[in-house]
């Protein structure tokens, strides 16, 4: 595929979009793990929800 004299502009656009999407996915995945770990640590220390259900239970 020949993109002509503006290859750098086109490639930068697609790479930037890919990078931002990967960063968003990574941030959301890390945040999920962090919150689950904090909830587990709190439950392990004996703190439970008023409903008595596990805070880490997402099912």
């Amino acid at each position: 595929m020949d993109l002509g004299p503006y290859t750098s502009f086109i490639a930068t656009s697609y790479l930037a979009a890919a990078l931002v999407v990967v960063l968003l996915i990574g941030w959301i995945a890390i945040d999920y793990r962090t919150q689950k770990a904090r909830l587990r640590a709190l439950e392990d220390s004996g703190i439970s929800r008023r409903s008595g259900r596990a805070a880490t239970d997402t099912q």
Partner: protein, 258 residues
Amino acid sequence: MSLIDLANPSRFLALTARLLPWLALVTVVLLAAGLYLSALAPDDYQQGATVKIMFIHVPNAWLSMFVWGVMSIASLGTLVWRHPLADVAAKAAAPIGASFTFLALLTGSLWGRPMWGTYWEWDARLTSVLILFLMYLGLMALWRSVEDPTRAARAAAVLTLVGAINLPIIKFSVDWWNTLHQPASVMRMGGPALDKSFLIPLLVMAIGFSLLFITLHVAAMRNEILRRRVRSLQMLQARAYTTSAPAGDATGHVVGAA
């Protein structure tokens, strides 16, 4: 499962656990198809291969406004109906909307340089989208600066609804003012002005990016619900600690708290 059932965060979490893998799968398939079709699209007779930037730029530009629209509806849910997930939805959408707006500005700039001869021009369309980006950042800062989520929610909801005034300004800026940016060529009276060879890849990419937003938004909402559970449990822990700890000194500090 009705909409009222989804007001229960636990039920929402159960739904997301089932929904997210399928949403992610369909998003990947659609984006892959969109990228393939974009690669096959012919060069434009005037713009050459730079027209390929359109397949990234336009979906992000649409989503930058759509996400603020979603946040505005969620803000109504917070202020009018006090739906328990409305604020969660608005807060989770903001960083994703900011990312799409940043990409719209960046790719527009990279498209503008070879086509207009400049990366940036202070015209109505570009400036109003930059303001939208700054409003996203302002909202995110507001949510982070207020400790109590309920108080932050009301302030953020008001700001979001005020900011929604910018959406029609962005949309019609190319009609109301003389700008460097071209007028609407897809969503316009009389149908799209684009040839099918460009329109089909553009629509596939737009649907793919929209599904990407929905997937990321649902996942970010799940995280926000968990974050609020962490906060509630930490407050319970603090209360349990202060009631079970030995009597405090005269200044109110719990003895041995350090």
